[in-house]
């Protein structure tokens, strides 16, 4: 087997076919492990009540569970409200992070000013700090300030999730941006603000979009903050997924339907960020 140096080409065909088969089998096994649970939950969400415990894949699918969870069958449900709350807080958190983070990331990339390292490090520490460390005092503070169970309160605390991502990744994008393009525009006669808007932004825009989507995904998927700092008003859809698990008669198919709908937006958005994924996931530490 030739060493992995370049994408395998014709010269690697002399590798033993046994190894190739074994590798393919291993891949299939892993991806079965990876994707079957998803197939399971989708199947479960489409099962009628009596099919839950009796069949595996041999059943006639029904959308009744989705109707129930969404409250479309007349039973009423807050699911849509929670879904919209997730949307509001996630979008809001990302917007706030962008407004605050883009200038900070640009400044940190272009100028090594005193305290820029401290700022970056503090933001990184937000990413790795245990959430309850902040939640416990915040629960008290929020109640005092009337921010408990509000969208604003959630948007603020979600900055712990979105800000480090936005600033660290955008800083690496801005640092990679050729500074001479900005210098040429300055000498052409544009002010620094116009240079940023006219020259830098258009070229960094795809990166900013990808970071926004990634930050949205992480904000949406967050559980612990809405779980502890909201109750019924601003509760998000990830928290509500636990709701159907309680009670006397647990209806697994409803749980499944709720979970599938809650997991859908991030999965759809993930399609758009494939290109910037590596840099996004590693906070700019690895150039993808």
């Amino acid at each position: 087997m030739t060493a992995p140096g370049r994408p395998p080409g014709p010269e690697t065909r002399r590798r033993s076919p046994v190894a190739a088969v074994a590798a393919n089998i291993a891949l299939v096994v892993y991806f079965a492990f990876s994707l079957l649970p998803i197939a399971f939950i989708i199947a479960l969400s489409l099962k009628a009540d009596r099919d839950q415990t009796t069949t595996y894949l041999w059943f006639s699918p029904t959308f009744d569970n989705y109707r129930t969870v969404l409250g479309l069958d007349g039973g009423g449900s807050s699911y849509v409200r929670f879904f919209l709350a997730s949307l509001t807080t996630s979008v809001g958190a990302v917007l706030v992070s962008l407004v605050i983070g883009i200038p900070a990331a640009y400044a940190a990339a272009r100028w090594r000013f005193k305290g820029s390292d401290n700022l970056m490090f503090t933001l990184l520490s937000f990413r790795f700090a245990p959430e309850l460390l902040v939640i416990i005092p915040l629960a008290v503070i929020y109640r005092q300030l009337g921010l408990y169970d509000t969208a604003v309160g959630m948007i603020w605390v979600l900055q712990l999730v979105t800000m480090p991502l936005v600033v660290w990744i955008l800083r690496s994008f801005f640092a990679d941006f050729p500074v001479e393009l900005e210098e040429a525009a300055l000498l052409d006669g544009y002010s620094r603000r116009r240079v940023f808007v006219k020259v830098v932004l258009p070229l960094v825009r795809p990166g900013i979009a990808a970071v926004s989507l990634l930050a949205f995904i992480f904000a949406w998927n967050n559980f612990i903050f809405p779980f502890t700092l909201t109750s019924s008003n601003a509760q998000t859809v990830t928290v509500s997924s636990l709701a159907y698990l309680g009670g006397n008669l647990v209806r697994f198919n409803l749980v499944a339907a709720g979970a599938v709908m809650a997991a859908l937006p991030p999965l759809v958005l993930a399609l758009f960020i494939q290109r910037y994924l590596v840099r996004g996931l590693s906070f700019g530490a690895v150039k993808g």
């Binding site: 400044a107 790795f128 993930a270 590596v278």
Partner: protein, 323 residues
């Protein structure tokens, strides 16, 4: 593309001869204002950090009081909270659970992730198709993944029991036994985060320079030798970044365990953050809960310092070798 000869230049209209300097004003910007520019841009971010750090410091201050629902006006107790937890069995149990969870999960994900990356790197049609699906588990919210696996592990509803029994495994207990509750938690964590390691390792593999490998092939090096001496060492700095992220994240594990077992059965999967949650929110013993968190945070801080320092040395070394 034609090049104008000197004679053509003379005859043609010369480019606009610059007048004596662009008749422009020359406004000045003081040096101090120029120096302030980056600070002005960063001010909102700094304010936000201060805003976040405020509750953090308030929280740390709780540790030296006995703040709880029973004591809404707490008294100063010095370091008693810290002394208490060091002698409390639940605390040490959480430490044990957290540590073993973090190490086990990170190790499993790293090995599996690098393996998947190597398999995908080989290319081939199957690899190229499947690579698109690599990211899927990573995008599922951990709590949702926990719920999904919880259902998957149910004897009556889920698929795990029949698959295991089909493979000849008997005595299925799901998450009812302490050992298996722990192990299944590790499985769920690995299910979500192996793609994380794989994606980063794959990017690393693809960015490795070709020449050392070509030289090794010309010298007749075998697969194992190349892998051990070339691939792994060159890949390690990338993989280590993923390891740091996973280790730090799994030390504060909450979502998965809360969704899967809520810390049980008993306290066999009660990590430090789960314990802190129970103390603070369920039992409303805020000070005790925060004390757990401060200890965890200190540990995470120290470990991350060490790991990042090691990463820097790694990156400097490979940069030096590449130069």
């Amino acid at each position: 593309m034609s090049v104008t000869t000197p004679s053509e230049v003379d005859r043609a209209e010369p480019p606009a001869r610059p007048p004596s300097g662009p008749e422009g004003r020359r406004p000045t910007v003081s040096r101090r204002r120029r120096r302030l520019r980056p600070y002005i841009l960063a001010v909102p971010a700094v304010l936000l950090c201060v805003g976040i750090l405020y509750p953090f410091f308030v929280g740390v201050s709780y540790t030296v009081f006995n703040f709880s629902a029973a004591n809404p006006n707490p008294a100063f107790v010095g370091l008693r909270n810290f002394a208490e937890i060091t002698t409390s069995a639940p605390f040490w149990n959480s430490v044990r659970v957290t540590g073993s969870f973090a190490l086990t999960a990170t190790a499993v994900e790293t090995v599996l992730g690098v393996g998947v990356a190597l398999l995908l790197y080989r290319g081939g049609i199957l690899g190229r198709i499947l690579e698109r699906a690599l990211i899927v588990p990573l995008m599922v919210a951990p709590i949702l993944a926990a719920i999904m696996w919880k259902l998957l592990l149910l004897p009556e509803v889920g698929w795990v029991r029949p698959i295991l029994e089909g493979l000849g495994v008997t005595g299925y207990t799901g998450t009812d036994s302490p050992l298996w509750a722990f192990l299944w938690s590790v499985v769920v964590d690995a299910w979500i985060y192996t793609p994380f390691v794989a994606i980063i390792a794959l990017a690393g593999l693809r960015s490795l320079p070709a020449s050392p490998f070509e030289a090794a092939a010309v010298d007749g090096a075998g697969w194992w030798f190349t892998f051990r001496r070339l691939t792994l060492p060159m890949l390690w700095p990338y993989v280590f970044v993923a390891v740091i992220f996973r280790l730090m994240d799994s030390l504060k594990m909450f979502d998965i365990i809360f969704g899967l077992t809520t810390g049980g059965p008993g306290d066999s999967t009660t990590t430090l953050q789960i314990n802190a949650y129970l103390e603070s929110i369920s039992y409303a013993r805020y000070s005790r809960g925060i004390t757990y968190m401060v200890v965890l945070w200190a540990a995470v801080y120290l470990i991350s310092m060490i790991l990042v320092g090691y990463l820097r040395r790694l990156q400097n070394r490979t940069a030096g070798e590449a130069a």
